[in-house]
């Protein structure tokens, strides 16, 4: 395509901000003024050339409207006609008219652009230097070498201030460079300025630009100015000469924000140069777009991992590299890390941090890392020696273990345990906290257990007893299995269909309780009836129920028989609709039982509507209305208490605060800020402690 030629060039030139020339000195005027007519004639000629340009591909005339190619200042005697060196129509892509080794060489659009850009920039630089020198004009005598040099430079500028051919490009560049040289020594001040700019180029070629920045020879403003004057890509070009060490120096010596701001003009090219400088990634990331960082990471891949691997101090790596990154960037990095690097990360984690990781949203960064499960598995295998495993294991909470095993089948677990090694497991078993080991064992199916057992010569899981208050798994006796098989085959079959491999876990847990075959079958039958299909939740149920499996199942049925399906919402106190269900006036103030208050009572103290959430269960011991109690009954009781002398006393005591206390067969709370009875429940009612309710909760949860 040929749109890149004159039309595009002109357009690009128009888009670029042009520095204004200084006002002309009396001696060396460079404004058009009297030459206006000539300039206009040149402009017209350029316009003619442009409009006559033909697209080499389409054969059609090219170019936008002339107004976009030639920009004139507003009419006026001193108006400057902005003219720039222009490509003539010969600057088109295509075969070069020479042959090398029998093959045609083609010059690409990029080559054309580069060449023309070099000429254009040199011409532009010459223009700037002339303008700068004219600023010194008053100090120059007409016959001085400086003035002569300035005149020659201007002549050269004018000579090439026209469309040039492809062939003329080399000559133009040469002439302009000579003219630039002639401007040397125009004045001391100019020479100093020129020298400074030359030094800038010298920096680019020789000394690292970062060094110049560090030395304070360029302020940020100067750097930006330089960037603007040199055109896009030039600073990035300079940046390639800087070198990593200097970047590190820069990063260390400058505050992060300042470093980023300083580096910003270098753009994406600079980032590519930094591609092996992963430790600086957080800082880099702050100054770049996500796409740019991703591009860098795509480029580095294994190099990044290797670089991270050079961090001997993994804690430092975590602190310096990973922690400062945004979560999505961590994901990008993690995807490119080898398992060794992830392992290093995890070695840095304190017990507290492991706990922090336990919830997926507790630390998004680490959670992102955990999404790379395959590598996590590798990590598990590599967590040696055994004491390290034990340390991790004992620091983990149940929910963390759940997360650890989530998504892994038992065969995986067994394999990991086997790969950890017999010695490690032998060390692990006696030192692992009983509850943790127990938790692990409940998550293994027959196959997993077998793998686990085989990895531990001389030990088997029958040695694993229940933690206090819980019923650990046990190997069912032959008699129990025979009884179950002979007398409860259909139940076993139905339960196995529901629970899958989890049937093994459940039977083992039942075997560790006082349940005989008949009661075990009854439990399994209820599992089928009520849909207790999640064996992990059932394991948690056994933990909480201990030896009281039957009693907790009965409690579950109390809730279920009252219509509780485990879906009632958890309603906080002092929330919900304020619509009055009952009202009374105390000392001229209307107090009420609001609809939201009744919702709250119902979610915490009524079987049918008790909210089966951990948050609700863990509030404390629940005082329950009798089974069968309905909302109408609760509302009636609440109305009675609201109108009682006892509540009147509580309301007066509360004032604008809160007061609670017994009120006959109930306890009530008066919230003076809202004038509502925000607490109300039987006293004592049926007391259900947290462990009891947790057991029931897990039975409800096992249905999902």
């Amino acid at each position: 395509m040929s749109e890149f030629d004159t039309n595009v060039t002109a357009s690009r030139a128009d888009q670029r901000e042009q520095p204004r020339r200084r006002a002309p000195s009396p001696v060396h005027r460079f404004t058009v003024g009297s030459t206006h007519d000539r300039a206009e004639a040149e402009a017209d000629e350029i316009a003619r050339l442009v409009t006559s340009a033909v697209d080499a591909r389409t054969g059609r005339p090219t170019g936008p409207s002339p107004a976009s190619r030639i920009r004139r200042s507003p009419a006026g005697a001193t108006a400057v006609v902005r003219r720039r060196v222009q490509k003539d129509p010969s600057w088109t892509t295509g075969p070069v008219g020479s042959v090398t080794g029998g093959g045609w060489l083609s010059w690409s659009q990029q080559q054309i652009d580069e060449k023309f850009t070099a000429v254009e920039q040199a011409h532009h630089q010459l223009e700037q230097r002339i303008a700068a020198a004219e600023g010194q004009g008053a100090e120059l005598a007409d016959a001085s070498p400086g003035a002569q040099g300035l005149g020659a430079a201007k002549a050269t500028y004018d000579a090439w201030n026209r469309p040039i051919t492809w062939k003329e490009g080399e000559q133009a560049l040469k002439d302009i460079n000579v003219a630039l040289a002639k401007l040397d020594g125009v004045s001391e001040r100019y020479a100093a300025q020129q020298s400074k700019e030359r030094n800038a180029w010298a920096d680019a070629l020789g000394r690292p630009l970062a060094g110049a920045l560090l030395d304070g020879r360029y302020t940020l403003e100067q750097l930006k100015d330089l960037d603007g004057r040199l055109g896009q890509g030039v600073l990035a070009e300079l940046g390639r000469g800087v070198g990593i060490k200097r970047i590190n120096d820069l990063m260390e010596l400058l505050p992060t924000e300042a470093a980023i701001e300083t580096l910003a003009p270098f753009g994406g090219s600079y980032l590519l140069e930094l591609k092996r400088d992963i430790p600086n990634l957080p800082q880099i990331a702050k100054g770049c777009t996500h796409a740019e960082v991703e591009a860098v990471l795509d480029t580095v891949s294994r190099s990044a991992a290797n670089k991270l691997g050079t961090y001997r101090n993994a804690k430092r790596m975590m602190a310096e590299v990973i922690t400062p990154l945004e979560a999505e960037l961590v994901e990008l990095v993690a995807a490119r890390l080898e398992s060794e690097q992830i392992e290093d990360l995890f070695k840095t984690l304190t017990v507290a941090r492991v706990k922090v990781m336990a919830g997926t949203k507790q630390d998004n960064r680490v959670a992102k890392l955990y999404e790379h499960r395959a590598r996590l598995k590798s990590l598990q295998v590599k967590l040696k020696p055994a004491d390290k495993i034990v340390g991790y294991w004992n620091s983990m909470q149940t929910r963390w273990l759940e997360k650890l095993w989530a998504g892994k089948d038992d065969a995986d677990v067994a394999k990991v345990l086997t790969e950890v090694g017999v010695d490690a497991l032998n060390s692990l078993l006696p030192t692992m906290e009983q509850a943790k080991l127990y938790d692990l064992s409940t998550r293994l199916s027959n196959k997993g257990l077998k793998g686990f057992g085989e990895a531990m010569p001389g030990k088997d899981l029958t040695a694993v007893t229940a933690p206090a208050g819980g019923a650990g798994p046990a190997t069912p006796s032959d008699a129990l299995l025979k009884d179950l098989g002979s007398n409860h085959g259909a139940t076993l079959k139905a339960a196995a269909k529901l629970l899958g491999s989890g049937i093994d876990t459940v039977v083992r847990r039942c075997a560790a309780t006082p349940l005989d075959a008949s009661k075990t079958a009854s439990f399994l039958s209820k599992a089928v009836t009520y849909g207790w299909k999640n064996s992990a939740s059932l394991a948690s149920f056994f933990d909480k129920a201990g030896a009281n499996v039957e009693a907790r199942v009965a409690l579950f049925e109390d809730f279920g028989n009252d219509g509780n399906r485990g879906t009632s919402p958890d309603v906080d106190g002092e929330s919900g609709p304020a619509t009055a269900v009952h009202e009374c006036v105390i000392d001229g103030v209307t107090w009420k039982v609001a609809e939201g208050d009744v919702n709250h009572y119902m979610s915490g103290h009524v079987y049918a509507t008790y909210a089966m959430t951990l948050a609700n269960v863990q509030r404390g011991t629940s005082s329950m209305w009798p089974t069968g109690t309905t909302r109408a009954t609760v509302e009636q009781d609440a109305g009675t208490v609201l109108g009682s002398a006892r509540f009147e006393a509580l309301a007066r005591a509360a004032g604008n605060d809160y007061e609670a206390g017994a009120a006959g067969a109930f306890r009530a709370g008066a919230q003076g800020k809202l004038h509502r009875m925000t607490m109300f429940h039987p006293n004592p009612g049926t007391q259900l402690s947290i462990p009891w309710m947790e057991a029931v909760y897990y039975l409800f949860k096992s249905r999902t």
């Binding site: 949203k361 509030r619 404390g620 011991t621 809160y658 709370g669 947290i690």
Partner: protein, 192 residues
């Protein structure tokens, strides 16, 4: 080393309040909170107690800071008021100039005292009544709670020594976090 971390409920899971604060889309639920008390790598409270009102926990933490700095003991009661047998946490300043502070947990089964609050306006009676009542029974209350902890196989939070300065700092941080959560919820409420 002691760390106090406020947790909130999200999707029936406990998550650190700071993660909720850091997530613009997350709307804090102010009626449920949990406290992670980690001392020397041992976790004592999290996952076992919903301490209820975030606002009340924050206000009590702030009160604890003032009381400890004044040289007296401090109590933080569960913010749940409609349940029995809720936890109280006792923070005691060092007995000697360079000694450790101590953290304990206890329960109040007394029908009247269980409603008492260390903050005025949050329950029955004057806060001083609660402190006096606890002072008279301190050892028994802590021992009973420790017994209960042993029965359910959880660490006993009984007279656990901690650096005084850290304790105060952590309580102050806890108060600040709770306040931030309340503020965020209020801001979200205002914006609909």
């Amino acid at each position: 080393v002691i760390t106090l971390e406020l947790y909130l409920v999200e999707d029936d899971r406990w998550v650190p309040a700071r993660s909720v604060l850091g997530d613009a889309r997350s709307r804090p639920r102010l009626g449920a909170s949990a406290l992670s008390i980690e001392i020397g790598g041992t976790e004592y409270a999290l996952d076992r107690w919903n301490l209820g009102s975030v606002e009340l926990i924050g206000a009590q933490a702030d009160d604890c800071v003032q009381r400890l700095r004044a040289g007296g003991p401090a109590i933080l009661r569960s913010g749940v008021r409609d349940r029995q047998h809720v936890p109280f946490f006792l923070f005691e300043p060092p007995h000697t100039p360079h000694g450790s502070a101590h953290v304990s947990q206890f329960f109040v089964d007394d029908a009247e005292a269980q409603d008492w609050s260390p903050l005025p306006g949050w329950g029955s009676s004057d806060p001083a009544a609660l402190f006096e009542w606890v002072a008279e029974r301190r050892d028994d209350l802590i021992a009973a709670a420790a017994d209960e902890a042993r029965q359910v196989d959880v660490p006993e939070l009984a007279d656990v020594a901690v650096p005084f300065g850290q304790l105060v700092d952590e309580l102050e941080r806890l108060a600040g976090t709770a306040q931030a959560v309340v503020s965020k919820a209020a801001k979200l409420d205002r914006s609909g």
